[in-house]
Amino acid sequence: MSVTITTRRLKDSVEIRISVQHVSEDGQRLDKKSGKAIEANFMQQVAVKIDNRLIADAFLGGDMSANPELVFKSKGVPVGALISADWLDLKGEKGRAEAHYTG
């Protein structure tokens, strides 16, 4: 499970793209060998921050694609700002990704 943040300058705002590498199992798929359901595990929460100020919370369900991507936009991103994403999945694994907005 890993999360990467990329930023892009738009006309009047900054795009914050959060790419999540995650299996995104909804608990419905069956294991072909054992025939048993594969345990559900998907990204549940992503908190997006600019210089450690929360700007958006994303709550996610099991019907996200595998390796989901989330896109946010903000007008208040100064050059050099630290953009971070705290994440948590269904199994309780959590982490933090960071990137600097370089303009």
Partner: protein
Amino acid sequence: MRTSFQRRRLLGLAAASPLFWLASALKPVAAWAADWPKSLFDMPTSDGALALLGAQAAQAGKHVLLDAPEIVDRDDRVTVRVYSAIPATEQITILVDKALRPVVAQFVLTAEAEPDVSVTIKLPSTSTVRAVVKAGGKLYTVTKEIKLAMEPCDAPAAGTKPQKPAKGRPA
């Protein structure tokens, strides 16, 4: 006297530490402003989820754009974008009616985030996709149907002949 004092101190430490761990277990992630809304994400029907959101009688969101492809040939990665031009948009919820759990994503936005978000979802079949936008305490909704060009093999659409497998896929 000294030994009993030390023992007490040790006891105190032992008592303090489980409390500390309990407190940290109760609040596993201090980073989030709110908890994952389990009842909403567990709701098996779109109507039920709309009721939970209080959006059954929501106005049609004339100033909300739900941008998604009309038709897709792959069901596993569809990008849905919701943009709201309503001032003070604070929450955007995306639902896929035909999904087993229709609520796919909910975004809680502060004034620093533009009300413009995208997310990649799975599409179970041709389905209505909804966005419910909360702005200034009021709810607005928009819907759009996304067609799946080829329905899953285990659930062929009624009256259609079986088709050749898609290019590049082993027969």
